[in-house]
């Protein structure tokens, strides 16, 4: 009896004691702040200093690329160098934080470039948190001087990752279809460039029509639709050797190809006798598997980042909508229920969202929704906007946009929030962009 009463008494006393201890925490006034603003983070990026003239020139050029990358993201606002109070030289050690606070810098980047005269260089950089007065990141790169531009993108990626928490995306490339000539005799060529438009080059000569290029996960190959044989076929191209290969001959027309997450498989649509279905091709065994069998058009398949599901568009329900299925074709369910027609869905590499094109009332929209179909919203609208592709961090979208009346067709990028719409500069009209994963 005594024991049983003790058994209840001890926990009771303990609970009371815990409550008594908890009460001081409740003494703090709780204030919930729920309406934040957004403004780009002011960041001071000093010229990467050097002990040589060559290194100094490279350092200045690299600083310009880093500033341009961060500014273009819409999340940073580089501060003009003329506002800097502290002069940062080659022998710089620690920043005078007060000087940087005075010009409202929240981040500070310093670094050096050391060249050895044989075409090699060592680049170091440090990112400082001015508010917390501490170093946030620092890295060293040993490479050839001719790689300075790529190293600048890598430095920008480190800064971006450390401050935003997002994955990197500056050290990437974009493949797209370059268009020239009159509408009746349009010449379409595959082209590739860095994400900032630099290092542009054409991959095909325009003798035959090419469409819908897609990067492989290893960034060394692209899939695309080509009329090289007179009939539309899906081709695989090695970017280093330039070698092209047709992925088999199928009954009917094959199009809308896309790799899976590890590049071992691809999905595409094949139209035959008025019916279009989705097929999966194992790139190692070349074995084909039919994933959809419904009457009507099933097309634009895109894998989820984990490779377990596929989103596609279909008119099986009477109007063109987005659908979701397992990677083996089972468990099909409708994803979109809004007004208009939905097409070209692309699963975000981050996994949380799906981007798509929506057509309604004579206008086109680029929209995003959560991968369960909720939270649908438009991020861009225009006379003709379509073909969204994600940056590898799932934060930025690129798409083609044509101005009214058959005007120019150009590539644009936009933040997933709908902010920061920017034109991606190309030498001529451009369509069908595909953003590469991070370069190896």
């Amino acid at each position: 009896m005594k024991n049983s009463s003790l058994r209840f008494l001890i926990p009771s006393v303990w609970c009371v004691a815990m409550l008594a201890l908890a009460s001081p925490a409740n003494a703090a006034l709780k204030v919930v702040i729920d309406q934040p603003n957004f403004k780009p983070l002011p960041i001071a990026i000093t010229d990467l200093s050097s002990n040589s003239g060559e290194g100094g020139t490279i350092g200045k050029d690299m600083t310009e690329v880093i500033e341009a990358d961060l500014e273009r993201s819409g999340l940073f606002k580089p501060i003009s160098h003329s506002a800097f109070i502290e002069k940062v030289g080659y022998n710089f050690s620690l920043p005078r934080y007060a000087d940087w606070r005075q010009i409202n810098a929240e981040g500070l980047v310093t670094g050096t470039v050391v060249t050895d005269g044989t075409g090699k260089m060592k680049v170091t950089f440090r990112l400082w948190d001015v508010a917390q007065e501490q170093q946030m990141a620092g890295k060293e790169f040993n490479t050839l001087t001719r790689n300075w531009r790529r190293v600048a993108h890598l430095v920008a990626d480190e800064i971006y990752k450390r401050i935003t928490g997002e994955g990197a995306y500056f050290d990437t490339r974009v493949v797209y279809v370059s268009e020239t000539g009159p509408a009746q005799k349009r010449i379409k060529r595959l082209a590739i460039m860095d994400q900032d438009g630099a290092n542009h080059k054409f991959l095909t000569d325009g003798r035959y029509l090419v469409l819908t290029p897609r990067f492989s996960p290893n960034t060394q190959e692209i899939l695309y639709l080509s009329f090289a044989s007179g009939k539309p076929r899906v081709y695989l191209r090695d970017l280093q050797t330039g070698r092209e290969e047709s992925l088999g001959t199928f009954e009917g027309m094959s199009f809308a190809p896309r790799f899976n997450n590890d590049g071992s498989k691809m999905v595409m649509s094949i139209a035959d006798r008025g019916d279009t279905d989705i097929f999966e091709l194992d790139l190692r065994t070349r074995r084909m598997r039919q994933l959809t069998k419904s009457p009507g058009i099933d097309t634009s398949p895109s894998y989820s980042p984990d490779g377990r599901q596929i989103v596609f568009n279909s008119d099986r329900g009477g109007s063109q909508q987005l659908y979701l299925m397992n990677a083996d074709g089972s468990g099909v369910k409708r994803l979109s229920f809004g007004d208009g027609r939905y097409g070209t869905p692309v699963w975000s590499p981050r996994g949380d969202m799906i981007a798509y094109t929506r057509m309604q009332g004579g206008s086109f929209y680029i929209g995003v929704m959560r991968s369960d179909g909720s939270g649908e919203r438009d991020v861009s609208q225009g006379w003709l906007v379509e073909g969204p592709t994600w940056a590898p961090n799932g934060r930025v979208l690129m798409f083609q946009r044509q101005t009214g009346g058959g005007g120019k067709t150009r590539l644009y990028s936009i933040d997933v929030t709908g902010r920061n719409l920017r034109e991606v500069l190309t030498p001529a009209d451009a369509s069908d962009p595909a953003w590469s994963p991070l370069l190896p």
Binding site: V31, D34, Q35, N37, F38, T164, E166, G394, T417
Partner: protein, 270 residues
């Protein structure tokens, strides 16, 4: 005899029963399960009243000063305001020591009137007119006491009631000021779930002396890149020049707001 008595009793019972029937017909049967929920809403509507009264304390201080021209008759009210004006600078000079200083002046003021009666005993026949002055002093002594209790920040914190809540307008002022400094990136993955809690300590003038992540937020920031960025944004907000000192905090509730649990909650962002 027995039948007559029985008849009388039955007549009595019959009359009683008829009376009872008549009463039931008029008033109906009693409802033992009758409860009336109507008064409750009236009680609820009264709850906000004490909050409204308290939130008026600060704004009322300044307007009271204006009706100076009334000195002669409403002496208790009018004389009470000028001292407040004079004493207001005190907390600014040394705000941290306010509670300590507050204790001293009232004691001195109380001692003085006690000494004066002693002097009267010693010089009892010297100045009868002193009585009039003493009366005036007594009046003065009597008047400042309530004034100090009402309007001196220090005196109030001494008698501070920790159960007094901050008013809605006072809470909104804090929220709005910090929200202006808080730059949050809504494009982060699952951004609505990145709720960050910062524990802050403030000085009596509203300056944020210390701001650090709560243990839960600290642990999450160490393991999640997105959360780390959200946590950094919250801490940077409190270091912005516009937010290093929170404005408009009621001095008399310092005990309530000297420690704050600031919850940066972006869930209402699109």
């Amino acid at each position: 005899m027995a039948t007559a008595a029985a008849d009388g009793r039955s007549l009595f019972y019959s009359g009683g029963m008829h009376l009872a029937l008549l009463l039931f017909a008029i008033f109906g049967l009693p409802d033992l399960f009758d409860y009336d929920p109507e008064p409750e809403p009236i009680v609820v509507t009264l709850e906000p009243l004490p909050i409204a009264r308290i939130s008026n304390v600060k704004p009322v201080d300044a307007p009271i000063v204006k009706p100076k021209p009334k000195p002669p008759t409403p002496a208790k009210v009018v004389k009470s305001t000028p001292p407040v004006e004079q004493k207001k600078p005190e907390p600014k000079e040394n705000p941290v020591k306010v509670p300590v200083k507050d204790k001293a002046p009232p004691e001195k003021e109380k001692e003085k009137p006690k000494e004066k009666p002693q002097n009267k005993d010693e010089l009892d026949s010297i100045l009868k007119s002193v009585r009039e002055q003493a009366q005036q002093q007594e009046n003065k002594d009597a008047k400042p006491k309530p004034v100090e209790n009402v309007q001196q920040p220090g005196a109030k914190s001494e008698k501070y009631d920790p159960t007094i809540p901050m008013s809605l307008s006072e809470m909104d002022a804090i929220k709005n000021q910090i929200a202006r400094c808080w730059s949050f990136d809504a494009g982060m993955k699952d951004s609505a779930s990145l709720v960050v809690t910062v524990n802050a300590k403030l000085s009596p003038d509203g300056t944020i002396l210390e701001a650090q992540l709560s243990p839960q937020s600290y642990a999450k920031a160490a393991s999640d890149g997105y959360y780390n960025a959200a946590a950094r944004a919250a801490l940077v907000a409190l270091k912005m020049p516009e937010c290093q000192r929170l404005e408009g905090l009621p001095n008399d509730k310092y005990g309530t707001w000297k420690e704050m649990e600031l919850v940066f909650d972006p869930r209402f962002l699109q």
